[in-house]
Symmetry: C2
Subunit: 228 residues, 2 copies
Amino acid sequence: MHQTYDAALGINLLHANQAGAEHNRAHLDAWGITCLNIMSSPGAGKTALLERTLAALTADFRIAVIEGDMTTELDADRLRQYGVPVIAINTGRSCHLDSRMVSGGLHRLEHEYNPAEFDLLLVENVGNLVCPAEFEVGEHAKVALLSVTEGEDKPLKYPIMFQEADCLLITKMDLAPYLDVDLERIIANVRQMNTTVKIIPVSAKTGEGLEVWLDWVRSVTKPTGVPA
Amino acid sequence: MHQTYDAALGINLLHANQAGAEHNRAHLDAWGITCLNIMSSPGAGKTALLERTLAALTADFRIAVIEGDMTTELDADRLRQYGVPVIAINTGRSCHLDSRMVSGGLHRLEHEYNPAEFDLLLVENVGNLVCPAEFEVGEHAKVALLSVTEGEDKPLKYPIMFQEADCLLITKMDLAPYLDVDLERIIANVRQMNTTVKIIPVSAKTGEGLEVWLDWVRSVTKPTGVPA
């Protein structure tokens, strides 16, 4: 449903998306909400990370989630168990969230809640290591996940995601002992693409690295609303 | 670089791609080449599978590879070690191969070799569980890979790939003992999307299931050229 190879048209689509993203961010700024856009391949562990994040942070911050999936509310239902508003966006045939879809989600947040009470909006993007990196949705920071099972070469082969990320989580570290994978090589390949990204190896299963991740989230989130 | 939300334009793009795919397939048919389009998320093991496939089948079939990656020839170089022609296509910012790109690859095959000597063309698509499924390239069958590390719910959440696949490999079976994953549940979820797809659990590491896969490839490939 996409990819025109018309460079001019492609640029215009991205420009239109960017304008929408800036509009979303202006709303979020007015409400005092920090927004993180969380992206990865399918199955790298975005939802598991969000489960651990919600379990740890809902006492300190008012959090909402926008959950992007092509179909189903499976992930949204997992996260609703943490007592936070989860706005599910089904993208249909689209392989990524864009600023128009997230704008619709923000309007739902505004309609059903008082958005000024929230501190943090976690946007879980469609599982895709390519396209979501090009479509800003109004986030203040981009978080990318790369599972150790995906291999060392991915930062070189899918450069845009790694160039764009502000924070990179290397996930499923509990599986590293069973793989022929060199963590230092992954990190070196990420650094080729991005010299400043915060890199955190984690395991949602064992808890490894999660405190470092949670501290990073705390560092970018200012509590402005009323804690739940 | 894509996703218009203009349904009419989207359909036209897919129609144009489909026409190109049929043109490619006519060439392949004239040359007596069976073409498989191999697709998965990043890091599900497409290249490892192709390594094992080339090692096993080059004695019986003349094989060529088209290797799609956003950037780099890392995978192409891995496969060149098996002594087959590997045509690398860098897709740049595009998240999938399309029929126009593969047409360019076929022209290179025609220019540098006698294409009528080949029996099998293996097309390794860009790692992406969403978009490649919508863009036919002229293949005779679609092969999808799903790693056990990606989780049981992926067939439900990324339905198009599983609806379109003729053969589905459940990869990295060697890691299954270390995961909370139920193979029967994965298969049941695939069956919800596709009642006829051939499903083969495999491990490129241990060799589990590879003979079943190789037999499937043999069953769809007719040797028409001169073995190498």
